[in-house]
Symmetry: C3
Amino acid sequence: MNFTAKNIADFTNGEIIGNPDEVVHDISRIEEGKKGTLAFLANPKYEKYLYNTKASIILVNRELVVNGNIKPTLIRVSNAYNAFTSLLELYAGSLADKTGIEQPCFIDPTAEIGRNVYVGAFAYIGPKAVIGNNVKIYPQSYVGEGTKINDNTILYSGVKIYHNCIIGSNCIIHSGSVIGGDGFGFVQQDDMQQRKIPQLGNVIIEDYVETGSNVTIDRATIGSTIIRKGVKLDNLIQIGHNVEVGENTVIVAQAGIAGSTKVGENCMIGGQAGLAGHIKVGDKVKIGAQSGVTNSIKPGETVLGSPALNASKQVKAMVVYKSLPEMYKRITELEREIALLRKEEK
Amino acid sequence: MNFTAKNIADFTNGEIIGNPDEVVHDISRIEEGKKGTLAFLANPKYEKYLYNTKASIILVNRELVVNGNIKPTLIRVSNAYNAFTSLLELYAGSLADKTGIEQPCFIDPTAEIGRNVYVGAFAYIGPKAVIGNNVKIYPQSYVGEGTKINDNTILYSGVKIYHNCIIGSNCIIHSGSVIGGDGFGFVQQDDMQQRKIPQLGNVIIEDYVETGSNVTIDRATIGSTIIRKGVKLDNLIQIGHNVEVGENTVIVAQAGIAGSTKVGENCMIGGQAGLAGHIKVGDKVKIGAQSGVTNSIKPGETVLGSPALNASKQVKAMVVYKSLPEMYKRITELEREIALLRKEEK
Amino acid sequence: MNFTAKNIADFTNGEIIGNPDEVVHDISRIEEGKKGTLAFLANPKYEKYLYNTKASIILVNRELVVNGNIKPTLIRVSNAYNAFTSLLELYAGSLADKTGIEQPCFIDPTAEIGRNVYVGAFAYIGPKAVIGNNVKIYPQSYVGEGTKINDNTILYSGVKIYHNCIIGSNCIIHSGSVIGGDGFGFVQQDDMQQRKIPQLGNVIIEDYVETGSNVTIDRATIGSTIIRKGVKLDNLIQIGHNVEVGENTVIVAQAGIAGSTKVGENCMIGGQAGLAGHIKVGDKVKIGAQSGVTNSIKPGETVLGSPALNASKQVKAMVVYKSLPEMYKRITELEREIALLRKEEK
């Protein structure tokens, strides 16, 4: 990376305040800026750092009013955060790209492999698997029999995808994630033993999905567990069998969704939240971190707490909850007062 | 799969209502039935689908009363769910079976390998490990030194089992599970550093246990962490060192059990529940999802919530919890009323 | 292992009560003692086992008063627990040590490999990676491009470390842990799609850190996610991007820390606790199991519950919470009484 302020202004359609020849070779956060780095300022909370950062160039919003002396060269753009993200993308895209088949790897003779793929050492591609163009399969990953990975998708090291699953195009699956393991289905027998229900369905992940590390997505008992286009899953998330997650829904780390639950589009599910099985979560629902959702939720609602309540109700109850010891005392005092009144009355 | 209604009725001891020559080649859920598929109806909630499903054959309970016209051929059996499960097992058993030693894999010369095993590519079997008959070790799995895997057990891709552990017969361990990692034991020293306590015990998993994906079961400090016969663990579960889980107990995803806790037989532990260390959970205990169990639980009890209370107490408290803001107002109103009464009294 | 009481007394600076030639060849817990084993007694709760254990030698605290007949040889030391730990360390150190390069493994020609290392079969060491002296990389582990592993560190089987990360010396990383996966950063676009923010930072783990199995530690967006010296992480923990965890802090299984949060030194974080992003947790803070921390915490404070409150406040509220149904009835009764008083007054 080696950009001048002029390069950056041209790329971001920005206006330079300062030296157009200022050079940056790395990026930094504004509060940790060093000479030769590019930073950005979008959140007003961080404005204070503008006046003493050592970063050489700062991307700022066009409407920012500067209240003091500043040393770095500024580039004013319409949206500093988006412009910075675009520069990060440019930079990321310039990094070395993996390609080719490393040895030893295992590619079953009946598997189909697309053009321009990367297959890392110790990767395993099972019988009748289909690998699209430009797919990257990092070392020690596993693609089961009959599973299809569409174009431009990346499986990082140690991803495990069981048989007969479908992964869309332009997906990113981070290390240690397991897709297509058996759903958790047992029937208790009269002697208390749990009899396994064979899990004969699969997992379908649509395009532009990203899953974090060590995520688990179980295959359906019958039919498919489905992760729709554009869904983003953080690390260590559990998706049960026959679940469906709607387009562009975002789920934060360590959340879990039990079997057969349907989550709508554009939802936000907080970290460590848990959703019971067989419920329906509408579109644009927000579920707070650590919530325990036991019932279906209407579109657009925000819920919090365990068990989850409508957020405004929950917040009110949480506020009063802190006063419980005081309330208890007040009730006891009221009872004393009443007893006194009654006595005096006689 | 290619069955006629007659085949299925013979296998399930059922009675055909409709065409005995109707053919199915796949399975479906009744609400997603397609021509040529077999479905079942056990839960009365789903009866409505019976009247418009496109599935060709439906397994139903013998006592079902049909209230309308239906197109599929019915097969009446004594328990539709069990009969369907038996058919799934038959179908699953007919799928291709892995066997043989794929290359390259690593089998230490001192390891003992049984008859009719599958060892996938890039699997690692350490010194003095013992692998029983009909065991399947999928690619990229690891069996540490001296570990024994008994007959008919399956380790899916990427399972890691540390040294000196014992895995029973007829077990299924899903991808990414780690068995026998060090227990979490440290002693804080005077300088605040944490000194590691060596973890010299092991893990013993008895027969017919199934663990989900990315489960972690730590080895004992001394002695054994024990998972008894028939236990079923879902994904992403944490089992601490020296824990013991009793026969046929079922634990749902993302639950965790801290060190030295003993869980009885035939318990049900909900998803994301947490059990403190050094406690004793009796037989047939039910623990709700997201519960936080800090004390021992008597046999047969059901507990809920964090901290966990007896379920009936907890449910009552939860109901009232929602009314906290109203209660607060009522207390304030009562105080106002009392002040008024006292004033009037004077 | 084959020690006499005299050997052990010499090593632990202890005093023998009984037979100095008593021999032990294994260790046990006092409650499970067998002939030929060494056990210890530190916690007075376990004293009852002293009188019927079958262990041959017991390490006890110097000040222990024995109230009855005992069969084993005792060794009195100043701290039985520490002495036992030292013996465990001695024993653990005597176990066979892995060394050498197993084949097949993948070591990029541009990687630097130190002296006396172990590289297991199917391990992958990427371009320009640097592996220190005495490092052990177990089978099927992955070390990304440019990543540095310092001296004496152990990566157990199936650890995945992405590119450009730094792991300190004397660290232990258990199986299935993923270090350096992308942070969870997306910006919602006007069409509701989530645009990925490239994650260009890294993870730095300092010396003497231990992480459990299937832990995930995300790389920073910019800069570094930092785990300071002596931190101990249990299994299945999530550490978000740009988080910093202070020296000697201990975090129990399944806890999660969201992005950019800073945790101080010598903290204790309980199992399944969750910390929101962008907060600051002071030194010596204690966070109870399953807590939900949404705000910064002052040094030395103890918090509990979700949402987390100061522990003494939370405990008081929790106690009263159980009485909610009773409180509700008492309020209703008070209202009845007041109505009655008012009526009588007229």
